[in-house]
Amino acid sequence: MHARAGVLAVLLVVLALGAVWATHQGPVPMPVIPRAPGHCVLPTASMRRTHMMLLRAVREEIVRHDARDTRFRITHCVACHVEHTASGQPIPVNAPGQFCATCHTYVGVHIDCFACHAAVPRNPMKFGGIGGSNSVQAAFRIPQALRGRFLSGGAGGGR
């Protein structure tokens, strides 16, 4: 009888210590979202709620119906939201702490967009050359605000 009470006491102490430790840790810290320059294609509140629906709808439209001149292209997301190292190299948006990863890690959602899609922007002129001075804009129908990010120096354009 005494033995059983002893085990129970030890268990209670362990549980109490665990609770104290958890309180001490506090809640999981909120993600720190890197800010992109300029304005997004929709207000932030809308993007937070609907970006996954937009991407899903648009991927169907682009691949199967060639609606390529939409604002909601994943390449545009990457072009705006990519961060750069001090030396100007683009950091993949799905790298730890980067724009896509920071929230999805926080909520425990695994995204596989970047198993296929490029997580850094690239300048098409450097890859087999599309050719022609206006071809880069034409090829991607990039919104005016984003064009500089494809065209300027570095692997993926400057900040």
């Binding site: 991927r59 169907e60 691949v63 199967r64 119906h65 060639d66 609606a67 390529r68 001149d69 390449t75 990457v78 198993a115 296929c116 899609h117 490029a118 922007p121 690239r122 098409p124 890859f127 087999g128 050359g129 599309i130 050719g131 022609g132 071809s135 034409a138 090829a139 991607f140 129908r141």
Partner: protein, 259 residues
């Protein structure tokens, strides 16, 4: 090039995209026209040509295609292959598990010694076997004739690799990094020549065609086969050309001269 429809959604450019009702009628017509041979219970051979003739769709105003002149193609030149690899982010290494969207093929007549070298890629068939066999609808033909893999739907079953008589499809068996934003590709999906759809939609030629012209051979020509005024259609009306394995009745969009 068909410049007028640049920038418009494709769906608007193609009149008479099939309604469900007409699809059903087509199926009925196919059933009527098909010659079926029952070998054993549950084993039926359909005469493919007859099946397809019954269900031929209305002619689309746009059908992108290629004309490859094997007389002008140089043995040993692989400018088109390298341009494809560079633009679409494929490896230059011809390893057994690396994707291959375009390859140079050399044919020799053993009797006469006549040799020709020319590139072979997805033939962008009108009735491609890849589209027929795909269990998820990932392999599809756009109304302008370009055959693509919708990788959002592809489950990587590789049926299209088996079905394609041109061996034009590849399977990505390893994790891919360093993709081009204009050519997404990843492990577990089938892929093939996209006719550089991003470039074409921007009014440019596919990378292979541009590279061939840059190399000075001018063995490749791209354009709208269904526009009688396009350079490719004019050329096709003047010189003798063929398609590879025309007997299969799949209606390739890639025409060859001199083979």
């Amino acid at each position: 090039m068909n410049d007028e429809r640049r920038g418009q959604p494709l769906i608007d450019a193609v009149a008479g995209d099939e309604a469900p009702d007409s699809a059903r009628r087509r199926l009925l017509k196919m059933a009527g026209a098909a010659v079926a041979l029952t070998l054993a219970p549950g084993v039926t051979v359909l005469a493919r040509d007859l099946v397809l003739k019954g269900g031929r769709k209305a002619r689309s105003p746009v059908r992108y295609g290629l004309l490859i002149d094997a007389n002008a193609c140089k043995t040993g030149c692989d400018a088109c292959v390298r341009a494809c690899q560079d633009y679409n982010g494929l490896s230059h290494d011809p390893g057994p598990d690396n994707a291959q969207w375009i390859r140079k093929v050399t044919i020799t007549d053993p009797g006469t010694g006549f040799t020709r070298s020319f590139p072979v890629m997805c033939q962008h068939c009108e009735d491609g076997a890849c589209v027929d066999v795909c269990p998820t609808g990932a392999s599809f033909r756009r109304p302008d004739g370009i055959v693509l893999v919708d990788k959002h739907r592809c489950i990587g079953c590789r049926y299209c690799l088996m079905a394609c008589p041109y061996k034009a499809r590849s399977f990505v068996g390893r994790v891919v990094t360093d993709q081009r934003p204009w050519a997404p590709r990843g492990k577990g999906t089938a892929e093939g020549c996209t006719m550089c759809v991003e470039r074409v939609m921007a009014g440019k030629q596919p990378a292979c065609v541009a590279a061939c012209q840059k190399a000075g051979h001018k063995a490749m020509m791209f354009g709208n086969l269904h526009d009688p005024k396009s350079a490719i259609a004019v050329r096709l009306s003047k010189v003798a050309t063929t398609t590879i394995r025309a007997d299969l009745g799949m209606g390739p969009g890639v025409h060859y001269r001199g083979i």
